[in-house]
Structure formats: structure tokens, C-alpha cells
Amino acid sequence: MNWLYSTAALCLLSAIVAGLLRILRGPTAADSMLAAQLFGTCGVAILLLLSKGLDWLVLQDIALVFALLAALAAVAFALRTWGGTER
């Protein structure tokens, strides 16, 4: 595999791992949710890079599913966990 793709994927994975700290630290729930949102995008990028690097087209389908469902958790959070009727 070309060095470019693997190194780039490694950088993105490190970004995810660093972002985990934000989830652990909080302070509010929305901050954690944002970090999860960033992971989704990083995951898409990693999959696309690996798909090119390994010459494996299936990974693009996985990236597509990732991109489709990226909003689901955040929408559930904004509408259900935090949103809805104010108390």
C-alpha cells in the first residue's frame, strides 16, 4: 500500500483517539456529541483512503453508509435527549 494513504489514515486515527479525550472531559453533553460527530467524518475519510490504498471498492459502500447515518445519533441527541419539551 502506498505510504501516502496509510500514513494519512494513521493521522486520522490519532485524531480520533485524541478526540476521545473531549468526550471524557465533557463538560456538557453537547461537547461529547460533537466529538462523536467528528469521529464519523474521520471514519469516512479513513475508509475512503483505505479504499484507494488497498484498491478495495467495497470500502466506499461502507463510507457511504457511514455518511448516511452520521446525522442519526446527533439528531436523536438534539431532539430527544436534550430537546423536546422544556421542563
Binding site: 496509510s6 483517539v17 461529547s32 462523536a36 479513513i46 467495497v58 457511504l64
Partner: protein, 347 residues
């Protein structure tokens, strides 16, 4: 350069357990759920690294998407229930205390805990030993499956195993899903949310854009499943995501779906699967032994029906109860009054 991928693997393999540990140790339930969503995402990357694209697809749809929505909504429901009662009692205090750092925690039965830890580690050592002793023969059943591919009617090996060679497993699995939906429906009704605010323009646009795309991608996944990664499970999961999005946005169309239609959609997949299993027997083969020439079409038919049912089932599981029927409203009011009286007595 493969070195970078080696580091990638090491990092991923170490982060997964660490994440699991932090998830369970986290004092905040919400944070634990978000960590669990991230775990699903990373698991999906791990499946890719382990050359399991089918599993990665399913995990991407379910682990990173659906489970998150499921837990987040349940969390909301639990919190709302607790807030309505406004009592933080002994048991919950104990739970909170347990979440404090160890030095502040009240020491409770250290002997029992040490014993449990000891037994757990012995068990794990045995398990790990067994794992190491397991003979590693790559592709144990791989060649056997590859040899029979010509008869399966599909090109994807995982799909061939799922729907042809071990079709009865999948049949039973579809039944399990159906039973789960049945269980949830017999336990509760969907909470009648008072018509909340109209979904804002952003949400409405999102739904309008994403739902048709999700349905298209679900169809694509079912279709492509015969030749490479994809299939009924992944397609069904993406379909379920569309349903969850519609439920979240509280679109009126969803509430107006007649419950008979829903029931038929739930049954469609299992019923068709069962019928074709029996039909195979009546043609002259064994259970789920499709005729050689048309095996591909049989599989595609079963897969499409199953995908629809899985989608509806998962969305129904997310909704968390059977849909309302107008005639049943009074009964609920009575029941909630009942429980209130009971709670009052208990307190």
C-alpha cells in the same frame, strides 16, 4: 508502506479495550452512551482491517447509527421518568456513590470483591489459554465454501453461507428478530407524545433529503449483496435508519400508517422465508434447498422481503411499543391512574 498500517492496527487494538473500560467507568451515563457509539465506529474500522467488509457494513449501520439513537432515546425516557418523580432515593445514591473515585467510596465487603475479581481472572486465564490452544488453520471452511459456490446462485461467499448453505440459521435469526418485536409490542404501547413543535426547516430538509437516499441505498445494498458485501441485514438496517429518522422528526405520515399494514410488513419476511423453505421441500429438495438454476432469484426474493421486515422490525423496536389505536386510549388513562395510586401507596 505497511509499517504505518501495523501501527494503525496496534493503536486500534489498544484503543478498543481502553474505550470499553472508560465507558463502564464513566460516572455519567450519557457520556457512556456516546463512548459506546464511538466504540461502534472503531469496531467497524477493526472489521475492515480484519477483512470482514460484510460485518463492517452491518456495524456501520447498526453499531454506529441505530444503537446510538436507541440508547439516547431510552436515556431521555429514563430521565423524564425520574424527573417526574423527583426522588433520589437510597439505591440511586448508592449508585452515584459507586461512581465516585475509589478513595471517596464507602468500602463495601472488600473480601467478596477480591474473591470475585480472583474468580474472574481465573476464568479469563482459562479462556485465554483455550484461545491460544485453539489450532490456527486459516480458512477452515473457506475452501469448502469456495468449492460449492457454483451451486449457490450468488457470487458473494458470505451471502451464500447466510442464505443458502446455512439458510436455516438465518431463518431462525429472522424469527428471533420477529419475536423481539412481538415481545416489545406485547409489553408496552408507544408513548403518545403531545404534538411537539413542528420540525424546523433544517430538520425537515434533512429528512426530505436523507430518507429517499437511505431507501435507495438500502435497495442497492440488497441488490449488490449477491456479488459482494451487502445483503438483507445491511439493507434492512439502513431502511430502519430511515424509519428512525422519520420517527425522530415526528412526521405525521408515520403516525397515520395503519397498524395492519405495519403488522403485515413485520410478518412479510419471516412468512416468505418460511413459505419458500416449505416450497423447496414440496418441489423435492430438503428444507431450503433451492432448485439449482433459479437459486439466485430465490435468494434475491427472500432477501428483499427480509430486508423490508428487518427494517420495519428495527424501527418498531426503536419506537419501543405497539402503535396506538384510537379505541385503546381510555384504557391507557385508566392504567396510568392505576400505577399512580400504586406508587402513592408504596411511598
Amino acid at each position: 508502506m505497511t509499517d504505518a498500517m501495523g501501527i494503525f492496527d496496534i493503536m486500534l487494538a489498544l484503543v478498543l479495550p481502553w474505550l470499553g473500560w472508560r465507558l463502564l467507568a464513566s460516572p455519567n451515563l450519557f457520556r457512556a452512551v456516546v463512548l459506546f457509539i464511538s466504540l461502534g465506529l472503531l469496531m467497524s474500522l477493526a472489521w475492515v482491517r480484519l477483512h470482514a467488509p460484510d460485518v463492517a457494513l452491518a456495524e456501520a449501520a447498526i453499531g454506529a447509527g441505530l444503537t446510538g439513537a436507541l440508547f439516547l432515546s431510552a436515556l431521555r425516557r429514563l430521565e423524564r421518568l425520574r424527573d417526574s418523580e423527583r426522588r433520589l432515593d437510597y439505591a440511586e445514591k448508592r449508585e452515584e456513590e459507586q461512581n465516585l473515585p475509589p478513595e471517596k467510596r464507602r468500602k463495601s465487603k472488600p473480601v467478596a470483591y477480591v474473591l470475585a475479581l480472583f474468580l474472574l481472572s481465573v476464568f479469563l486465564l482459562l479462556l485465554g489459554g483455550a484461545l491460544l490452544k485453539t489450532p490456527v488453520a486459516p480458512g477452515r471452511l473457506g475452501p469448502a465454501v469456495a468449492g460449492q459456490m457454483g451451486q449457490s446462485g450468488v457470487q458473494s461467499r458470505v451471502t451464500a453461507v447466510l442464505l443458502n448453505f446455512r439458510g436455516y440459521d438465518t431463518l431462525l435469526e429472522v424469527m428471533v428478530l420477529f419475536l423481539a418485536a412481538l415481545g416489545v409490542w406485547s409489553l408496552t404501547r408507544v408513548r403518545q407524545t403531545p404534538q411537539e413543535k413542528v420540525p424546523g426547516p433544517v430538520l425537515a430538509t434533512l429528512v426530505r433529503l436523507l430518507v429517499p437516499l437511505m431507501i435507495t441505498v438500502a435497495g442497492y445494498l440488497v441488490w449488490i449483496g449477491s456479488s459482494r458485501a451487502g445483503g438483507a441485514f445491511q439493507g434492512g438496517a439502513v431502511l430502519a435508519a430511515a424509519g428512525v429518522l422519520l420517527l425522530l422528526a415526528n412526521v405525521t405520515v408515520v403516525r397515520q400508517i395503519p397498524s395492519t399494514l405495519l403488522r403485515w410488513a413485520l410478518v412479510l419476511g419471516p412468512l416468505l422465508f418460511l413459505l419458500s423453505a416449505v416450497a423447496c421441500m414440496s418441489i423435492g429438495g430438503n428444507l431450503l434447498e433451492y432448485p439449482r438454476q433459479s437459486a439466485g432469484s430465490w435468494i434475491l426474493l427472500i432477501e428483499s422481503a427480509t430486508a423490508v421486515s428487518i427494517g420495519v422490525t428495527l424501527a418498531a423496536l426503536y419506537a419501543g411499543g405497539r402503535p396506538h389505536e384510537p379505541a385503546a386510549r381510555e384504557a391507557i388513562v385508566d392504567k396510568s391512574a392505576d400505577t399512580k395510586v400504586k406508587n402513592g401507596e408504596g411511598a
